[in-house]
Symmetry: C2
Subunit: 115 residues, 2 copies
């Protein structure tokens, strides 16, 4: 967390990489974890925006935070606050622009893996 500009404590202003700076290896390694893959799958199939709490992950709260952070810093999801709830949504358009077809293929594969 390098530059937290204005007054608020860090963590309240999540940093997102610009689309042009999203790196392939980072995205792939972000997606290469079962917990994070299931988050991404849930975001894609379920509701577009979801709070962390809605995911019901098989890990502790702090581990959840960690995984969401990895996804956000990789450029896979965008996060913002809605009250105390951390909402997340997939950066579908950004990813499609940067790596055409990649997210679609991964989501298809993940869907097949589960259903």
């Amino acid at each position: 967390m390098p530059e937290s500009v204005s007054g608020t404590v860090s963590g309240r202003r999540p940093t997102h990489p610009e689309t042009s700076r999203i790196r392939l290896e980072t995205v792939l390694s972000a997606l290469a974890d079962p917990v994070r893959l299931s988050i991404v799958g849930a975001l894609a199939d379920g509701h577009d925006d979801m709070a962390c709490v809605a995911f019901d992950l098989p890990v502790s709260k702090s581990t959840s935070t960690h995984h969401f952070r990895v996804l956000r810093e990789a450029g896979v999801i965008r996060q913002y606050y809605e009250g105390t709830a951390r909402m997340s949504c997939l950066r579908v358009a950004d990813l499609e622009e940067r790596f055409p077809g990649l997210l679609t293929a991964v989501l298809d594969a993940e869907r097949a893996r589960r259903g």
Copy 2:
């Protein structure tokens, strides 16, 4: 190395996963490394089959062996011997069958990253 059936020393009969057993997370994490990504890129763009030695990787021999093994065990490449040379080729059709569009998208992204 569980079951090496006939007499030969292990390592000479590389084990490849069946297409149906290729796992998404394993493939993604295999591709999430710059060295392995460059191997895959070289295999896709260059010649279909290449010996390890032809890749000119920025790592030692043993590290090379390690990376090829990860790719092979993930189901991304197929390997066989041609004399003492270990030849490698992408399992394009198998991957397309298992995870349609995935390899293509990754290769496009990798190509863009380099060119």
